[in-house]
Structure formats: C-alpha cells, structure tokens
Symmetry: C2
Subunit: 298 residues, 2 copies
DNA sequence: ACATTCATTCCGTATATCGGAATAAGTCAA
DNA sequence: TTGACTTATTCCGATATACGGAATGAATGT
C-alpha cells in the first residue's frame, strides 16, 4: 500500500529481517513460528523466505527439519568480506607482532557508523575480557580505549555528531556526563593515545592508538587489552610506543575509503548487548523492532 | 522462465548474487557495471538491488558514491552468527589453553558441506601459513590435517560421497590418487588423529584431532599448525594428547545439529571460493587476492 | 486417545520487480 | 573549452513474484 518513504515491504528487507533475528539468537536454532513472531512476518511468509534462504545456502536447518539457523557458509561469506580497504590483511602482521612481543591480546577496531567493531584479534597468553570481545563485536564509539581512540581522532564535525548521538548510549556504561567525555577526548588527542584504566571492567585495562588515514582521520585503532597490573607506569610507555610504531606504518597503506556517517540504519544493528539504541529517526524512522504481534502493514 | 530446477529469478537470489560477487572482490569496492557484469544482472537491476542492500546496511559505498563494498555491519552480523550450536564459544577456551601451552597456532575447523571452514583461530608466537588461513577460509575436505581429520571420521556414507565429490578438487593440491587418499584416511581413523607433515606447504606441519558429536560423527577438528621442526617425534605425542583431551571435553557439550549434505550449490562462494593459500610473508602481510573467478592455482 | 501447537502447501490477488530505453553524470583526449 | 565516450541513475509499462488468509498435514503433549 503505497510508498511509505522507505521500502519495508520488499522481499529483501523481510529476508534480512529474518537473518537479523537468527543472528541475534544464540545459534541453537529457531522454529518458524518464533522467527515469524520476532521478525513481524506472517508464518507463511517466514516459511517461504526461509526456504529461499536455504536455497541460497544462508540458512540451514538441523535435526530432522525443525530448527533454523544461519549457516557456516554465511559466516564464511561475510568473513572474507567485511574488510574495508583490506584493512584486516594490512593489520594482521602488526597484530601478530604485537601480541607476540607484548604477550597481551591485541584488537583491531574499525569504525562503523556510531560504533566500533572488532575486526580482528590476536590473543596473548593473558586471558582478558573486553567490551567488544569477539571478532564482530560492537561497542558505541567512546566505550573502551580502542573505541575512544577512534572517536577522539575523527574530524571535528563527525566527532560532534557522534558525541551527540552516543551520549545517551554511553550513560549505560560509565557515569559519563558530557563534560567528562570531552575531557577524556581532549586528553586522548593530546597524548595521541587512549590509556588509563577506565575501571569499567574490574581489573582490566587497555591502551589504544588510532590508525589514521592519509587525511589524518581515524578509521581504526589498535588496542591492547590486558589486566591492570600489566599496564604499570613503567611498562605503559613501551607499549604505547610499540603500538604507535605499528599504526604509523599502517596508515599510509590504507586504501582510501570513507565510512559514511549513517544512523545505525535499520540494518544489521547492535545485536550485541547494550549497544542497541532506540531512537526513532525522523525520516527513515519507522521499522524499529516491531512490537511483538504487530502486523506489518500491507 | 519458470522451472529450471531451482528458482533463480527471485529477487533474493539476485541480491545474494551481488553479495557473493562483492565478497569475492578484494574489498576495494566495485562499480555498478562491474557488479552487473559479474553477477549476470542488468545494470538497472544491479543498481536497484544495490540501493536496497544499502538501505539494509549490507552494502556501503565509499568515495563520493562510486565504489560499492560490503559493510562492516554485514561482517559483524555474520560474525556473531555462524556459530553452529555455539561451537565457537564452546571451543574458545580450549583454543586459548592450547595456543598458550603449546605456543603454536590452533585452528578450529568445522565441516560445511564438502568443505572445512575455519571458524576460529588462536595464534601462538610461531608464525605459520595454513590452507584455511583466515577465519572464514575454506578448504576442500581432505586438504590439510584438520580437514582430513574431519573427513576421516564422517559416517561412512557421507565420507564416500565427499570423497567422490572432492577427488577432482584434491588433484589440484597434492598428487592425490584415490588409493592414497583412502590410505591416509584409514591411518587417521586408526590413530585417531591426522598428523604427519604432508609437505603441501614447505616447512609447515600440522596435527589435528576430530571433535566428535555424541553420535561419534566428526563435526569439527582442532588442529595445530606449526613449522615442521616443532613436530618432532618426541613432541608429537604430547601435542596429540593435549588436543585429544580438549576434544573429548568438547564433544559432549555440542548441541545436536547436523550439517546437511548438499552440493555446494549456487550457494555462497562455493567450491573454489576463498580457498586461498597464504603465500604472504608475515611481516609485509598483504596479498592473497586471486583474480575473481579464477580457480585456485595448483 | 484427543486437543493443541506448529509446519507446510494452496491459490487468487495485487504489488513489487524487471529490464529496455531515456536521461544524467562523470571521464578523457585534444 | 568542446565533444565523444563511458558509466550511473531514473522512468515506466508489463508481468512475473511475493503476499497472506485459510486449509491441510505433521508433531507434541496430556
């Protein structure tokens, strides 16, 4: 029924609604009904789309045709993909060198809209827990050292927009007020790295250095995640220096690409914990997660 | 147009054709024309679908609206997903323990159709090259130790089908004839692990132990990739024992799921997708791109 | 056994998709 | 600058496709 400004009746949109639902599930698999409910689709439609997705190899069902889940092939497809300007390949050697020489876990974070996403990771012998955690994990820009390092080195205009947009989201993490955040950012800009134990995760600490493209804008960050004791005042400068050395080597190799500043877009948004935000946007608005049981308009 | 075995006129199929094309590209981005050509779509259609995909957040375009590429969000979506029965989460601790105590790189491979896919990886200080390489990388079942370990412990019927299907593909790697392959498999079954330096990558060696589900079928494998010297006859038994210990601990925790045996079908990336062998030096990193559509070279 | 939930198939309707062709935008060589 | 060329985007009518209500079939539970 008519153009609602943006398309939400398209098959593609519905298909991805299903994919998103499945991605948000725990990987055990979901039944058609459940999927239909959570994606706001009819059972018939959900079923038909699931068949189509299976034909594409995106979805598989295990155990005598009951539960649907995303396929390993889908995983592999996207794994070889989300690699803006070959950044991951570019950084891999650096990650390996760093984790080997430091003995800590190294993260590669890239900016994606208002979030930072963990693109790669190389583990050291010291087990840690981080915000982004796994490869593919997301945090709002500003949460955690790596994320903060990126935010601090965005061009001013974008930085402001991100700050404005993210402030409400950040509240859920620390007791951030705007002044505090800006102070942090200022210090990061001055020092050239994001350090200091934020105390967000007890006993954990991190340092991060931004990776700047040829225009001096942050597109990524290398970050060390470790236990607080291992970032003593004596060791810290060494670590920072190592990180910085790698980042400056990486910078020039970056293929030009810009991350378009978009609202997290009804797209593949934060399946990850508290990162999810619910801001009804003016134009693209609509289509949040549909309240359970709400029928899609026709 | 109508029958034709499976539907290929559907919008969803076309959309994924584009995604596949983009995934196969080197991440620099592609123009509409190129995408249209390689996916076999009309320019108009390709363009429209790209718009739709952008609305979904799957595709972004950089640089003043010229080149399209897959978004980081798409990457994140699938990363948190392709995790059959939580296998990755289940295995992560084991990977960390192993790479920490052995000092070598540990891979988690899962079966996907006629391939093995690298689902996770934990690096040790010893740099290595492997067949699967990156997370998301694929190899035909039978190539490499991990892959071989899985193949060897499939139920007989499936094993036979895989062998039949894969033989031609294997030819490109070693000088495998069927007899040789079957001999290898027999030995793996007898020993309970896949070992021995296959000499496929000079100086490299690996050992792999299958992860069996409660029915005794191989669904995955833990594999060690290292340099040949580090798998001396004295050290090997230790390594195998450590691996085995972890795998038996993992097995029972596997959520029941079966990988349906399907032709790689028009599915994702399929057979000779990113079966790239990493030939890069770990310091200069980089490399890896095969020309789109080119078969993996011998 | 029955009752209930869930999965799958049917089918008429209408809507979203398709692609040829027109237009706009960008690229390159003089 | 101009002009020829390539590539990107928009239009639009025909029709193939997707839609979803409802019927059927398969599981599950008590």
């Amino acid at each position: 029924m008519s153009d609602r400004e943006a398309q939400q009746g398209t098959g593609l949109h519905r298909a991805f609604a299903i994919i998103r639902v499945l991605a948000a599930s725990d990987g055990t698999g979901m039944r058609v009904t459940q999927i239909a409910r959570e994606s706001g689709l009819t059972q018939a439609t959900a079923h038909r789309l699931l068949q189509a997705l299976m034909a594409e190899g995106v979805v598989v069902q295990g155990e005598g045709s009951r539960l649907y889940r995303l396929s390993v092939e889908f995983f592999a497809l996207a794994a070889s993909a989300g690699n803006p300007g070959n950044l991951r390949d570019l950084c891999r050697p650096a990650l390996l060198r760093l984790s080997a020489s430091l003995g800590d876990t190294i993260f590669l974070l890239v900016r994606s809209g208002f979030d930072a996403v963990c693109l790669d990771r190389s583990e050291g012998p010291f087990p840690i827990r981080s915000f982004t955690g796994d490869v593919g994990g997301r945090v709002a820009l500003g949460v955690g050292q790596g994320s903060l390092a990126i935010l601090a080195f965005l061009p001013e205009a974008e930085r402001e927009e991100v700050i404005r947009f993210n402030l409400p989201r950040l509240r859920d993490f620390g007791v951030f007020d705007e002044v505090y955040l800006r102070t942090e950012i200022a210090r990061v800009r001055e020092l050239g790295y994001a350090g200091r134990n934020t105390g967000l995760l007890p006993g954990m600490a991190g340092v991060a250095v931004p990776v700047l493209d040829r225009d001096g804008r942050a597109v990524a960050a290398l970050s060390v995640g470790t236990i607080a004791e291992r970032l003593s005042p004596e060791r810290l400068p060494t670590v920072v220096e190592l990180l910085r050395r790698e980042t400056v080597a990486i910078g020039p190799g970056i293929n030009p690409f810009d991350v378009v500043l978009r609202r997290p877009a009804q797209g593949l948004g934060g399946i990850n914990g508290p990162t999810r935000i619910e801001t009804s946007d003016s134009r693209t608005g609509q289509q949040g997660r549909l309240p359970p049981g709400a029928a899609p308009r026709s």
